[in-house]
Symmetry: C2
Amino acid sequence: MDCVRLDPSDNVVTATRSLAANTAIESVQTSGLIPSGHKIATASINQGEAVRKYAQVIGFASQDIASGEHVHTHNVAFRATDADYEFATDLRPVTAVPEHERDTFMGFRRDNGSVGTRNYIAIVTSVNCSATAARMIADHFTPDVLADYPNVDGVAAFVHGTGCGMAGDGDGFEALQRVMWGYARHPNHAGVLMVGLGCEMNQIDWLLDAWGLKQGPLFQTMNIQNVAGLRRTVELGIEKVAAMLPLANQAKRTACPVSELKVALQCGGSDAWSGITANPALGYACDLLVAQGGTGVLAETPEVYGAEHLLTRRAIDRAVGDKLIALIRWWEDYTARNRGSMDNNPSPGNKKGGLTTILEKSLGAVAKGGTTPLTGVYRYAEQVTARGFTFMDSPGYDPASVTGQIAGGCNLVCFTTGRGSAFGSKPSPTIKVATNTEMAVRMSEDMDVDAGTILSSGVSVAEKGREIYDLFLRVASGEASKSEAQGLGDYEFVPWQIGAVM
Amino acid sequence: MDCVRLDPSDNVVTATRSLAANTAIESVQTSGLIPSGHKIATASINQGEAVRKYAQVIGFASQDIASGEHVHTHNVAFRATDADYEFATDLRPVTAVPEHERDTFMGFRRDNGSVGTRNYIAIVTSVNCSATAARMIADHFTPDVLADYPNVDGVAAFVHGTGCGMAGDGDGFEALQRVMWGYARHPNHAGVLMVGLGCEMNQIDWLLDAWGLKQGPLFQTMNIQNVAGLRRTVELGIEKVAAMLPLANQAKRTACPVSELKVALQCGGSDAWSGITANPALGYACDLLVAQGGTGVLAETPEVYGAEHLLTRRAIDRAVGDKLIALIRWWEDYTARNRGSMDNNPSPGNKKGGLTTILEKSLGAVAKGGTTPLTGVYRYAEQVTARGFTFMDSPGYDPASVTGQIAGGCNLVCFTTGRGSAFGSKPSPTIKVATNTEMAVRMSEDMDVDAGTILSSGVSVAEKGREIYDLFLRVASGEASKSEAQGLGDYEFVPWQIGAVM
Ligand SMILES: [Ca+2]
Ligand SMILES: [Ca+2]
Ligand SMILES: [Ca+2]
Ligand SMILES: [Ca+2]
Ligand SMILES: [Ca+2]
């Protein structure tokens, strides 16, 4: 297959390999060399007419384009989205699977009704100053020590570089406290020990007060300064975790409906194929999940920039759409204040790979979210309470984005990658989907799914999407994803640091 | 001793315990309750007259103050420093110890002439995406594996949360590349392995190009994407480090002059005593070091804010002073852009502890730098090339500040703390100095020096400073500091993240 067509109404297709001049493509002939991943006009497009891909306008011809011609920045112009957003005008009906016919997975049902896919004891730190203490406590619980507790997946330390030298209010502080709270009450955690220094800005006690958390056998807090030093903190922390283990080990997997799955949709190290193979396949899996009453959480606000008007049309109501617009405005201000810009996309590398406009790039990223209505928009690390397809504010940067998604309650992560990422996460495992077969083969020990077969073997997006969905259920039920089997996830906890470090 | 006097010319002294009314203090009697750490007028101060502490003006009486009265925010006003900075007007001569009489320590002399106090192999990461790979490589080198290499102090992984999702130029990017370069060429590293993912913004190759670094037996780089996955990266990384060990083990300690010591001066978790006990004692040690031709590196720009005019007077020339003023202006802009302020000091907690004005607070922090001329001012993580007392731009936040100081070449860290910090660092060990005896006793396993004895036992600042200086030489020669003996330093590498995370 020399090219891929994403929608019957498109007037461009994408070359799947480098094509010489005069190659036959659908009903046209290429009029010059077309690099792999670049677009070819399948009809003549007059100056000013729309260029369509994904059944969407990705730009306008800046000169007449003949059929068979290379379509790229030299003959396509981008016009900024006008501010007249539409709301709820593109709500495609979801054919919901009746409750009694729903798929199930084997999960850990918690007392508060939430469902975990794993059963960890977490050591959550408030500040970098307690990082070593937390690691030393967790390091005590080797596989040998844990052998008597087969239902416990491990003792995980969540350690980071922030928590002090920051403002004690505002976006950055609130985001960090939401992350801590989200990990403290995550359904994949049977027990939680919070460890602080004592004098940090990000006070554990404030958090407890703000969220009404109470200490108990499976939720404990401690500060190094109160305990009087590192060694005693580590000793006492080990005692506290050891006391949690028999209780945590009582948790058992039971059949739970897929509506209890909350899947983080993520991409990193994208390439020209991300928006054509892996992302649409993940989108299809997300549609299947939503039909079952489950939840998909798209994130990475800078990567939907320019396509937000498509998401507002999918918003179930104006309030949900307005939240998204507010996030976009916040980001414009945030990057401007930090002397950056939201308009530096597509990057030179993206363009070289064949992406012509920011809208085309964002459409490829948004494809991870499938086609169902947008039911909720959340701040970074906020608890995701809506079912269905949702959006969470976050940077595109993988570890910071996934940390927010997990804090929001995601109990599974699905991550598409083109360049090849070695990402993994705790307490929610990450499934990795390769966008191209070359990388899937080369990094076969890291990739769970090869979506490159959509191009290399003619597998349909629907087939690949079903494969991904089926893997959701198996991994949610306890099968180790590849990143999980390799032991990743201990060093990828990165709360988004927003404000000045002082 | 009920109070402490910092200079004969001061018109206030500081209560070392809570004093009832009518307590005799020097030649006066307290006229009301004086909380511990708060100031008492030892002479009458008329409205508008200067309040003097540290032989400096810390504010002006906002009403007439009788001798024996409590001096604090209710009767002291602060006038902002006027912008007429003076340069090189307060250069106190240093009585240099002749070269042949200089103290020595046992250090690792490197081929380029620099001197290490430790002999590590470092695994430096460009991005969070290679964090687990780096940790897995380092974790292979257990004490058993290293037993054959007694001259090697360990294999240390420097792992962090940034490196992508950031602008590819500007302050934040440049700071991160300086950190990486500083760790790559640090004299405490016998060998360095750099590990990246491949597609990150912070490219290892750009770094090598920019600084002219060449791969060799003791300097290697690798990317997960090129090596084709996590497992093979870890295997190959272990091979590369294993090949470095016999070479690194050839390094031997030899007698080196103290002029090769570069000491990071740091404070964290300060209290009302920091500026009275530990900081002046460390300043005295710094003066001894400078007399020997060595280097002290003060940092934490937000904590010298308000006292920068005293440092410009100590600057050896206008150019050095102007650099400091430029940093102050940069910080005013940085915090304003991030909706913070440089003027939120002293904090409510500081005021409760007895600190009345920002100048009083900053004078206490600057006391760590002793009294000698300011010979150089550096950007964050920039190589410190001047000898003597120097300043490096950094946040006050301990791990970010020390990371910059170590990147700048500091081969020893001295850290004063009042509340009690469990900080430790690699590859340069941290000595911790307690500001008060209560905490020094309570956290005795973490504190190397109790400077609280200046208050509790009448030890002089000079005696305590000499004790700290002597400890510099012992720890530089290989004696483990308390934080080092406890194994700290693997999780405290925190490059200052300046810009937006995108
Ligand atoms: Ca992405
Ligand atoms: Ca991402
Ligand atoms: Ca050794
Ligand atoms: Ca400080
Ligand atoms: Ca500090």
